[in-house]
Symmetry: C2
Subunit: 236 residues, 2 copies
DNA sequence: TCGCATTTTTCAGTCGACAAGATAAATACA
DNA sequence: TGTATTTATCTTGTCGACTGAAAAATGCGA
């Protein structure tokens, strides 16, 4: 039997219509955290029992995950957690870099007064994670920081792709993540600050350049992790 | 009662597992062709009867369309065909332009021998549509042409977003499309040829520039359609 | 011991039914 | 006659069961 660890799962009753979102969110999280590693078999009956609900809402959640590309279904056979395409990681990096740039550009162009506050709040959270040397928190707060910037850019198409990429990045990082205190480059905090300043000054070109450099940094770090990492030892 | 026009729908039996894809494809097509205009109510029971199958596969198809953003569901109430966000069309144009550029760039960089053949085949189809002054065919063959280029670029993230944008474009064009022979700028054919040449020569920068200009052309034409079009008279 | 055909088992795809929200209709009341 | 409240209807969300297709298990002959 596979992992399929914990946990509670409300023994009580759920509100009508909430069931799907409930299992979707949980499964999605478990996939991105590699609690369900790529290739894991996903059994509908098992999930139905685990969440103590019928197969129907489970199925709907799986269809959504399919749409996100997080699971793959073999026709008439089991559905599995999608594999990470390690051979084509460069396409991922390329798209990630472009989205970093484009969203930051647009934020510099279109941000409104209250956007800055939210962005700075995310940056504070990120700084706290760096200070605490909590790499996992870094990943997630970094995501929120850049997602907030993307929101300020107000292009739903870019936002959608960017979020997808950031999530896939989370999965990749997890994969190559061995120890807690790998290397935590604190210059990220400064780079974030510089990006914020450029956005605030509405300096589109500078924002672009900074985001580009920042993206290169991050991509490089991930590539280092991949190259040097003891890999596949998923701690925690 | 709403439109929900034609048609046959296989009276015979379907193969197991094909049901969902079947209704998904048809509904998707009808939405993009505005046979189901934005805001249309989508009734599961009605569809179930129309396709003579249970509500379950219908439902799954709708969930997929939801993932594509083509339909919207009001909780516990009906699902409707998603509206076109006319107020933010500029975000659409912006993303479309970028994807035109990026995919063409990558095609120039990464295309392989047999890619050119496929691309040229699509271009031939496009030229035929132009010659026939069939604007609807132009839209669809133009889509296939650029989709083929995107495939040659081999970045699944860009391909995904680009296809989504091209489909949304089809819907928008349909919306503002009044007469068959609006204006059919034949220079598109030449522009396509130039793009092909640049890709073949692996001249990335030239391919980028040409794609950029081409995108601007197309965007401009759509904007003209919107501005001058008698609008909302959806013929055919 | 191995390869192939056959049976068994498992699980995805589909179905019909029921129950809970929500809306529209009907009724009561001021 | 207009507004509030109850009732009826309609539709979605969920359920349990059935069916069939593919994989695993079994049997058999070389």
């Amino acid at each position: 039997m596979i992992a399929m660890t914990k946990n509670a799962t409300t023994p009580k009753e759920r509100k009508r219509g909430s069931g799907v979102k409930f299992v979707y969110d949980i499964l999605r999280d478990e996939i991105l955290d590699l609690a369900l590693p790529p290739g894991s078999l996903i059994d509908e009956n098992q999930l139905a029992e685990r969440f103590s609900m019928s197969r129907t809402p489970i199925r709907e959640a799986l269809v959504r995950l399919l749409g996100d590309g997080l699971v793959t279904t073999l026709p008439n056979r089991s559905t599995i957690v999608s594999n990470i395409d390690f051979l084509n990681l460069h396409t991922f990096f390329d798209a990630l870099r472009l989205m970093y740039r484009v969203t930051t550009r647009l934020a510099a162009e279109h941000h409104r007064a209250d956007d800055l506050g939210r962005i700075k709040a995310r940056q504070a959270e990120f700084a706290a994670a760096v200070k605490a040397e909590d790499a996992l928190a870094m990943i997630s707060t970094n995501r929120e920081f850049h997602a907030e910037i993307a929101e300020a850019g107000r292009n739903p198409y870019y936002i959608g792709l960017f979020l997808k990429l950031l999530d896939e990045g989370r999965r990749i990082m997890r994969y190559y993540y061995s120890s807690y205190a790998d290397r935590l480059p604190p210059q990220y905090v400064d780079e974030h600050d510089a990006i914020i300043a450029a956005i605030e000054a509405r300096d589109v070109e500078r924002a672009d350049a900074l985001a580009s450099a920042h993206a290169d940094q991050i991509v490089r770090q991930i590539q280092q992790m991949i190259a040097g990492g003891s890999s596949k030892t998923i701690s925690l």
